[in-house]
Symmetry: C2
Subunit: 209 residues, 2 copies
Amino acid sequence: MNDDPGSTARAIEFWFDFGSNYSYLSMMRIEALAAARNVKIVWRPFLLGPVFRQLGFENSPFVLQKEKGAYVWKDMERQCGKYGIALTRPSTFPRAALLAMRVAVLGANEPWIGDWCRKIMQLNFVDDREIGSIDVVRDALDSLGLPAQNLIDAAQSDANKLSLREQTEQAVNKGIFGAPTFFVGGEMFWGNDRLEDALDYCDAIAARQ
Amino acid sequence: MNDDPGSTARAIEFWFDFGSNYSYLSMMRIEALAAARNVKIVWRPFLLGPVFRQLGFENSPFVLQKEKGAYVWKDMERQCGKYGIALTRPSTFPRAALLAMRVAVLGANEPWIGDWCRKIMQLNFVDDREIGSIDVVRDALDSLGLPAQNLIDAAQSDANKLSLREQTEQAVNKGIFGAPTFFVGGEMFWGNDRLEDALDYCDAIAARQ
């Protein structure tokens, strides 16, 4: 039983990776935008690396194509300026953040998921910290007042590791080829530039019902 | 001598290829947007195929990556819907349009350049015609009341063929890796999604002067 017949439509799936710079832009914007429209965020962390490898790329296109890579950081500066979001170009890119991603899978339905995701993104794209390190993850959990060791242990359980692997396979099966990607009512939207369109589509679905 | 000291800044270079679907979106929008801001369009047709090959790709990424290709046409439908632009998915993609591109280089500073570019884009992305064919080019020139045979002869002169080749080399040298690409005051903006930002940048430069 579902008390709110519109609840399924008024949700946006947010597929992201902490290493992805355009996921960072969406991460810092999605909660306010979704709340303003009464849209629920369904958090879908997945590993972009295996998705790229599945598509035949050994690394991010922003690394493999130097022209595109050079452009992307200019674009990021301008986009961050437009949105009023801080940015430091990470000294390592893209940063793997396996443990932090596992914590995100573990906490996907927890009230702290948004805080966690923004915290890790800020450590990567503002503070230029090694978000792949267990010490950085522990400090980040501590800073949010979360039980760091318990969550790290749970994140590293076989079941939770499998959850992230399965979610990554699901990304491939859904035709995801980059991040961020949004799904609304089965419709796919790729890239931070489509976040507003994806949210508009929630309203379009609701209007049809 | 330049009578208008702001004239250099209030210009946008529009780098495009008639085969490029996102160039189509910009083509149908740029003239009205630029006119509303008193910005001059500098028309820069170039061949995307050689640029892709220079970057190591044998074809458009929308053809080489089937997931991205499938997505792009959904995105095109939605974007065209949003902008109120007609769209028929071309039965051949990407379409080479060498002669039509040569006419565009020839006419880049002529009063009919905008009409020509929109006409060819419409033939490709609405009427699904073979814009690579000399007959289609001739009919298109006729339909605009232009001297078809004269322009076709001039477009196929060695000097004009060289102009298009040189402009394509210039695209590579400027770090262009896709289309459409815009330049404003030396700053590069990639993709139809950045057209408004590029035009905003004209105002930002003017405000600084």
